[in-house]
Symmetry: none
Subunit: 416 residues, 2 copies
């Protein structure tokens, strides 16, 4: 098994601008990973010789494979070729075959080759040029002190085409790949998940285990090196162990979302759903309708942002709002009943609360949220205090509400 | 001007997964840049002590300021604190004040602090703890051999709040900063914006000009290096030139969104709004309610996902649905009138259409969307064919609807 230590270098001052991201690195991480090569470091560096050489010098000291993207173009900003040749002490020699190919390419487009493009035909001594079918800059493949160095253009289509045509074949078939699985857990804090799964995590090796928390959701990412064509046995074993420990807290796997799981359960039961939202402002309905075909089980919803709408549209009693307040279990349940009546659905889900940044006065802090759910034989409310910003409270509320629905539907399915 | 050599380290094995990107780095690059501190290197590294220490060792040798995000959580994966302390040879000492704050935080949420959270109260000797108002992990600020090292949690909201409250004030003034402006343009394709602004862009220097397109919106990003305390004169000049050329197509600036602009106009007019959504599934209402205080002008909305709900809840005539169909100008306007009546609002905005991946049959392709708007003296419908995936069609529809409202409110304001 080749335990290659791979590193990616993304070259380009524009990648250090706040609004840019290095998408090439995501692609390379994926295709290398599929061949069993783990990327250990990803570095972004600007277009200066000094910084470029520093990035390569560091990478040469700690990695077996360096794949760099960007900086092979014809302009004065494009310095990767020169910087790497300089660092390795290799002269740059003109390659007439490449020069002719670039000239030919310009001729086909009816243009003359600008003189600066000749720089793209310079090759460090001993390096192999990798053809670029979609652009002018050839890639370069070289070896230094046992480290393989691949330089590719930064234009994503060119980089991808060359990776597939020239780089991956040269890396050789390892006969291995990385299998991945994401397990999404709802209703438990990260530290609680960690505590309950402590034993499972300790026994996870050789499967790599990462735990990740977002608002209202904890994910466990599993990765396993497996032989080509074989199933990820370690992942399957650990998935089973997690499910045994956490039960219904395991909400979804891989790309699937909680709302997709809830939608699948509704469709399976032949049931329909309506929503009544206050603080989430339509976010629950918006999530439910992301899935194509949601109209099979989602009837619709009301966003009742003010008390007036809660009364006039959803039929929440004025007395309830007066005596119990808009953020109460009674109001949440009346909202749910109102939505269920209005849309003639089997189930209805309601959310009311204070999203923040301010609450509803003394004893009504931001983050106080009440969820209501009604369905066949079900009428339940849940009362929570959520931490975080307005946005985080809204996102958590949506996730909690959808998870409350998912669990109730699981129970309904079991009791059939 | 202090030419600080800054470097960012994003910690987390999940950031080396192909489907994740380091958004924290983009934010930090921007806010450091605004203070004249250029980021030279950005590195992503996984959750292993060896790789973490290697990344910090390299950074200590070439940078004056290191800002790392991630790996400060309570789980066994969270190794940043220990790795950096180990690299610098500093013992980790318990800080009782932090421990009490974390315990207090759990108590407020009605939970007991899990024992592993105590790790978050460990501080390397000589380091300063930076308070975390939104989560449990405090940040850490330390200095080693003249290099300033800042460790922040990876949760974006916590990281941002702490950067603003604790990191930026400690970095001091450099005498210069980068000023930024984002100009958001609605209703024009990227190539059309590019064509109309060609002259303005040519005269932009020394202001850096970047054009960026997303679904239903084009942005122009401007950046200018200015002396502390002085206004960005170049940016102001170019902003004025863009506004002169594009007029009402300039929808918003900087962090402001189209829905915030529309909300501001509604509040200024003392008007209120309701929504009636089909294909957007609540997305328009969800956007409008992201803004704190939206209840001043947003009454509520109906998500009428099926024809039944359009009739029963919004009062769209059965005859209209039969003769014109659910995706028609007539239905869109009846939906808007229904929402306006139901919520007794001044204005109402409706969206109906086929989000995809499939349409509504022959002659009804996915991406066909009709928007309706009613208000004082206003009744208008707009019919568009939008490209892209289901998600893109929904996002574009929300933006177009909100922009239709914004333009109508601008007209209403002008005619006062």
């Amino acid at each position: 098994m080749s335990a290659q230590r791979a590193e990616l270098i993304a070259v380009g001052s524009e990648l250090l601008e706040p609004w840019r991201t290095d998408t090439n690195g995501s692609y390379l991480t994926r295709v290398l990973g599929e061949r069993g090569i783990a990327v250990r470091f990803r570095t972004v560096v600007g277009d200066t010789s000094e910084d470029l050489q520093e990035a390569f010098r560091v990478a040469l000291g700690r990695s077996d494979l360096i794949v760099a993207t960007g900086g092979l173009g014809p302009t004065i900003d494009d310095l990767t070729r020169e910087a790497v040749a300089g660092l390795l002490g290799l002269p740059l020699l003109p390659d007439e075959a490449i020069a002719r190919r670039i000239e030919e390419r310009f001729r086909r487009l009816g243009r003359e080759m600008p003189p600066q493009n000749r720089r793209q035909a310079m090759v460090p001594r001993g390096a192999e040029a990798l053809p670029n079918r979609l652009g002018t800059a050839p890639g370069l493949w070289m070896t230094s002190g046992g480290v393989r160095i691949v330089l590719l253009p930064g234009v994503p289509e060119e980089m991808r085409q060359m990776t597939e045509a020239s780089v991956l074949p040269r890396l050789g078939a390892s006969g291995e790949r990385f299998a991945h699985r994401i397990i999404k857990i709802a209703g438990l804090a990260e530290s609680e998940v960690d505590r309950r799964l402590d034993d499972v995590a300790r026994r996870a090796a050789p499967v790599a285990w990462t735990i990740l928390a977002g608002p209202g959701q904890v994910e466990i990412h599993l990765r396993e090196r497996v032989r080509e064509g074989e199933p990820p046995e370690g992942i399957e074993r650990i998935d089973g162990e997690i499910a045994a420990v956490l039960g219904a807290h395991v909400a979804a796997r891989d790309e699937e979302t909680i709302e997709e799981v809830a939608g699948r359960l509704l469709a399976g039961l032949g049931a329909t759903l309506a929503t009544a939202e206050s603080l989430t402002g339509g976010g629950i309905a918006e999530r439910l309708t992301r899935t194509p075909g949601a109209s099979r089980y989602f009837r619709g919803g009301v966003v009742a942002y003010g008390d007036e709408a809660k009364g006039a549209v959803l039929g929440v009693a004025a007395e309830t709002l007066r005596a119990r307040g808009a953020v109460s279990r009674e109001t949440a349940l009346e909202m749910a009943h109102g939505a269920r009546r209005l849309f003639t659905s089997t189930w209805a889900l309601a959310a009311t609360g204070y999203a923040g940044p301010v609450g509803g006065g003394p004893g009504r802090p931001p983050g106080r949220v009440i969820l209501g759910l009604v369905g066949p034989g079900v009428e339940s409310a849940r009362d929570v205090n959520l931490p975080g910003s307005r946005r985080a409270v809204r996102v958590r509320s949506c996730r909690l509400a959808l998870d409350m629905l998912r669990r109730a539907l699981l129970d309904a399915e079991t009791s059939l």
